[in-house]
């Protein structure tokens, strides 16, 4: 991880990303560069277009304009599953787990593209199938260990508390073996104690799995606590970038969150 010694290529390069929904401009000319190993935050008031940016990076929405490059390959126009296989894993703002299934199965599903056996192997239920299946189960259990979910392994996921469900989502996204992990409000609905745990976990997975993380978050203590760089959006545009300290003192950011001074409010 000595990036400084050599020339560093960006992991993710987003250039001129623009999205119109009919006449509504959700995101306008969004640029962002993320290097390997970084932990970057994307913040902004509700409706600023943060999730739209995520959905364009992951291919759920097709950008109206602009490019998204991962390791130099343009991903615009790829199907979401191809983008995931290329190395971008994500979680969702409103949790999207496979509700009827167990926690373990939720995580194992994400290993599908790297399962290493085909339909015929599974129909014959041969040695290759059982060996790979053991490997997948082991890896999934490792991830559950990391996210402290081991004891919920066989629970049906919809019966889990909210905070645990968020962690299952992170474990599932990591099972896609991504280089870049996109977390959409991972701390939403968590209590302060859970948030501290979560922050530790995010740090831990970044360091131990050599991940790069981009996260959207509303809770300032999370963003300010763990992100190294922050980008702030409002009304689909970037209004500020910088370190947490710089952002905290930025007049535009304060305005975006709290309104344009007392005179305008009255």
């Amino acid at each position: 991880m000595n990036e400084n010694s050599m020339e560093v290529l960006p992991l993710l390069e987003v250039e001129g990303l623009t999205k119109f929904f009919g006449g509504l401009r959700a995101v306008n000319d969004f640029n962002m560069t993320i290097f390997k190993g970084e932990l970057v935050g994307l913040i902004g008031p509700n409706g600023a277009g943060k999730t739209t940016v995520f959905n364009q990076i992951t291919g759920i929405y097709l950008p109206t304009k602009g490019t998204v490059k991962l390791n130099g390959t343009n991903l615009v126009g790829f199907e979401p599953h191809e983008i995931t296989r290329a190395g971008i894993g994500r979680t969702f703002q409103n949790i999207r787990l496979f509700n009827g299934l167990s926690v373990l199965d939720n995580v194992r599903i994400a290993f599908h593209s790297s399962a290493g056996y085909n339909l015929l192997d599974s129909i014959l239920s041969n040695e290759r199938y059982s060996q790979k299946e053991r490997e997948i189960t082991g890896q999934a259990q490792d991830l559950l260990d990391v996210m402290k979910l081991s004891r919920f392994q066989n629970e049906i996921v919809k019966n889990l508390p909210y905070g645990e469900q968020r962690r299952v989502e992170i474990a599932r996204a990591m099972a896609c073996q991504p280089q870049l992990l996109l977390l959409d409000e991972p701390a939403a609905g968590m209590n302060p104690r859970e948030i501290i745990q979560l922050m530790d976990m995010i740090h831990f997975i970044r360091d131990n799995f050599k991940l790069t993380i981009l996260l959207i978050e509303h809770q300032m203590r999370v963003v300010m606590g763990i992100c190294e760089r922050i980008t702030v959006m409002d009304f689909g545009e970037i209004i500020a970038r910088g370190t947490p300290k710089e952002i905290q003192d930025n007049r535009l950011v304060i305005e975006a969150y709290l309104g344009k001074g007392a005179a305008n409010v009255a």
Binding site: T84, D105, I109, Q141, I196, Q197
Partner: protein, 463 residues
């Protein structure tokens, strides 16, 4: 008198369900690996195979005539074969609708395709015409290879519009079909002399070669249904779930219409259109019915338990999330649709050779709701539920009700179509998740991965 026959029918239904429980249990028996010296012996699989054979012989003995005493008469054995074929169709539909979440009304159409295709093969063979087998066999093999080849070729091209790739597949399939027809014509003079005709059966028309032909007829019929479902599903599965349901309903109607006019707009005079195809050799016996049903159950169970099965279920649970987890949703849908239709086609072949007479009315789309009712009744996403509901449904509706109502008056059996919807209604009110919910028996039970015992190693230290 009435009471006795009611009781007897009830006992039969319970016995059938108990039998299914036993079958599934014996297939799932697991014993610890035994160590003999340095070698490890895993005898579980052997036990399961022996169990299956025992289960097979239990019914086989019940069907055998011991000096005029038969535990199961021909009426019951008919129910048994119907139940086996219904199990296959319903399992296929459960894969498509219950596990993959694609509401399909086309299952009955694929069942009909399998039935007519297989029946045509054996019918022609029996009457001294080998082209049924050769054309269908070469056709499905060539067609399958063409599809695989085009698929391989297309996987290198990115994002081909679905209609363009569909056109390619269609052209490939048509070429394969035409080639098969010519190959059949070419081969006919070499095979036909050994077939003789229905009055003087030739060497290849005896009972043993005939059962081999029957096997291939059913298998090819199933594959043919699967290939048709591939061509049909490719463009249609990209529609949303409800639209897909309507499109598949249209498909069943198309198939029904083709069956009614099979002797006029299709070149199959032996199918006799709306009058119905008669004289299909009754080749379905318990060994074959059991074999095909068990194969379908095992294949489906192994698919569901694999990574592919999990991806199929994930599409049902949340399509967008599945996509974002690297699952090719379109391919998963297509795969389960094709496999489900394959099962339907196999079921059709077994049915046709039990009943010996195919009428298009049996493949009307209204009748096509039967497998749907069965899977909802048994529980969507439960294989055990489907199997027991298929057997229970046939034995209750076609067995018990028909027998009992038939004793009241000749017209009374029609009342069963009043009684069983009411039963269904009642069940939906009492148990909306279906008879068995998601309970699975024996060998179909999902493997529960034991917890690891390492609380201390868990994760990071909390602050």
């Amino acid at each position: 008198m009435e009471l006795k026959s009611i009781l007897f029918s009830l006992v039969k239904i319970i016995a059938v369900i108990a039998y299914l429980y036993g079958l599934l249990w014996v297939l799932g028996v697991k014993v610890p690996v035994i160590k003999v010296g340095s070698r490890k012996l895993n005898i579980s699989l052997l036990l399961n195979a022996v169990g299956a054979v025992v289960a097979f012989y239990v019914i086989q003995l019940a069907l055998t005539d011991f000096n005029g005493f038969k535990l199961l008469n021909s009426f019951d054995s008919g129910l048994l074969y119907q139940a086996c074929s219904m199990t296959m169709v319903a399992l296929g539909l459960n894969l498509i609708y219950g596990f993959n979440g694609q509401f399909s009304l086309g299952q009955w159409g694929f069942y009909g395709i399998g039935a007519y295709a297989a029946a045509d093969v054996t019918f022609r063979w029996m009457n001294g015409d080998s082209r049924g087998l050769t054309v269908l066999g070469i056709g499905v093999i060539l067609g399958g290879l063409t599809i695989l080849l085009i698929r391989k070729f297309l996987s290198n091209l990115r994002r081909m519009p679905v209609l363009s790739s569909f056109t390619l597949y269609l052209i490939g399939a048509v070429i394969a079909g035409v080639a098969a027809v010519f190959a059949g014509k070419f081969l006919a003079p070499f095979i036909d002399p050994y077939l003789g005709n229905s009055l003087e059966p030739g060497v290849l028309n005896q009972s043993f070669p005939m059962s081999i032909v029957f096997f291939f007829a059913v298998v090819f019929g199933g594959i043919f249904a699967a290939e048709v479902s591939f061509l049909f599903g490719l463009p249609v599965l990209s529609l949303g779930s409800d639209y897909f349901g309507i499109a598949t309903l249209g498909f069943s109607i198309v198939i029904y219409t083709l069956m009614v006019n099979s002797d006029t707009i299709l070149p199959f005079p032996e199918m006799k259109g709306g009058r119905g195809m008669i004289g299909i050799p009754k080749l379905t016996t318990w060994p074959w019915a059991f074999f095909f049903m068990l194969t379908v159950i095992i294949i489906m169970r192994n698919i569901i338990r694999s990574s592919t099965g999990r991806s199929i279920i994930s599409v049902r649970e949340d399509e967008i999330a599945a996509r974002s987890m690297g699952i090719d949703v379109a391919e998963t849908k297509l795969m389960s649709f094709v496999v489900g239709s394959l099962f339907a086609g196999l079921g059709g072949g077994v049915y046709a050779h039990y009943i010996g007479f195919l009428s298009p009315n049996a493949f009307d789309f209204l009748v096509g709701f039967n497998p749907l009712i069965i899977i909802v009744f048994g529980g969507l996403g439960s294989m055990t539920g489907t199997i027991t509901a298929a057997f229970g449904w046939i034995f209750f509706l076609e067995g018990m009700l028909r027998e009992i109502l038939g004793k009241i008056s000749p017209e009374a059996p029609s009342w069963r179509y009043v009684l069983y919807p009411l039963t269904l209604l009642l069940l939906m009110l009492v148990r909306p998740q279906g008879l068995l919910g998601n309970i699975e028996w024996g060998f179909l039970k999902a493997k529960i991965t034991p917890l690891r015992n390492n609380e201390t190693k868990e994760g990071v230290k909390t602050a």
